[in-house]
Amino acid sequence: MNCRQCQQKLLHSLAAGDIPSAEVVAHESSCPACRKFHAAENSLFRSIDSGLRSLANQPVPRSLLPSLSICLDEKFMANQAPFYRWGFTAVATAVILAISVALFLRRPTTTPPASLVQPTSPASRNSENQAFASQPHQELQKSAPFAAEFRHTARAAASIKQPEVMVLAEEREAFAKFVAEVPDEPSVALAFAHPAPAATSDVVEIALLQIDLLEVKPLVSGATGE
């Protein structure tokens, strides 16, 4: 083995990180120039290795992991935000629905019994039904939703005001029946209450039922209807 071959093999083993072969070691023992070359190259490769190690193993900043955790948590929460939004919407909808159902169930659905006369106040009916009182009779008859609306309004007014109407004892039952029918058949009741026109060809004008002479007073516990 000559010096050139020895140095090439030496470089190969140093670059590969291997131990030099016995052949190279034997040549070096008898060749000072190759020994010197080996020492220089060995120093160079050691410097390269230590330089690479110092480059690759820089101390990691302490702020890296905490700041990363914060960033990840923010990302996680941002991804979760739609869920919370929908969750809130679902809860809000459920609450609204529950309140609506509760109000619907508490609404009075039957006509008042004849024994307990609690008619709606004409005054409150006046104010609540002012808008449709001036409409023509035919339109009222055709409009089923209107009748339902009227019933609903009358019942609502009755449940809120609860006035007591002074009625003669012998007219009490008839009055109760009449009042009970008014919300169900508004147009018939209103037409019945209104004086008929003299001529049959005249147009019937529907006006709101008004009982001006009734004395209305607040309901007191234990008081009779007379």
């Binding site: 690479l52 690759a56 193993n57 990691v60 992991l65 955790s69 929908w86 679902a90 609204i96």
Partner: protein, 188 residues
């Protein structure tokens, strides 16, 4: 009155909660890997950029990208390899951008303001060799640089490096060999 209820088509509460549980599990899984993979990403970035602040930025960005696509990772054992590649790519992009910027600034600067080439005395200084090494490293092909950096990071064997880069062990060794030889030639 009509109630308006917002309903997302095709979504149910069960599916949502299952998705949330899966997402929480992925989040915990990812966080458990941070202690090991955070420093690895930083060191890869630092090896390319050689600037602590830039390396931290790149490591953070790489980890955030990895987090956003973590659910797509089919094989969790490949996470380190995946993260190393993301970090290396990002670091290289930043390094190239910095070099372009540097070149532009050098071209615009007056000749007398340009840095003076290092003298022999300066090269003898303790950090001169490191500076030369870093320059030589920058001139190496990317595949050699990455292998050199990963092999130099403490705590990783060549087998682990091969696993990170998804290449055979023999390829890692041959790349290391050529990279070291090229570095030695540049520094000799």
């Amino acid at each position: 009155m009509q109630e308006l209820v917002l309903i997302q088509p095709g979504r149910t509460l069960e599916a949502d909660s299952a998705r949330e549980i899966a997402r929480s599990r992925l989040h915990r899984d990812f966080e458990s890997r941070l202690a090991e993979c955070g420093p690895l990403a930083y060191r890869v970035a630092q090896g390319v950029l050689r600037n602590a602040a830039d390396a931290e930025d790149v490591a953070q960005e790489a980890l955030l990208r990895a987090y956003q696509k973590f659910h797509r990772l089919q094989d969790p054992t490949r996470f380190r390899a995946w993260l190393v590649r993301i970090t290396f790519r990002l670091a290289l992009d930043r390094w190239r951008a910095a070099r372009r910027r540097e070149r532009r600034e050098t071209e615009w600067a007056k000749p007398d303001l340009r840095p003076v080439p290092p003298t022999a005395e300066e090269l003898i200084a303790s950090n001169a060799f490191q500076a030369r090494l870093e320059r030589a490293l920058d001139e190496l092909p990317e595949r050699f640089r990455l292998v050199l950096l990963l092999a130099a990071i403490e705590g990783y064997t060549l087998e682990e490096v091969a696993g990170m880069l998804k290449i055979p062990m023999g390829t890692v060794k041959s790349r290391l060999f050529f990279a070291r030889r090229a570095l030695a030639e540049k520094l000799r």
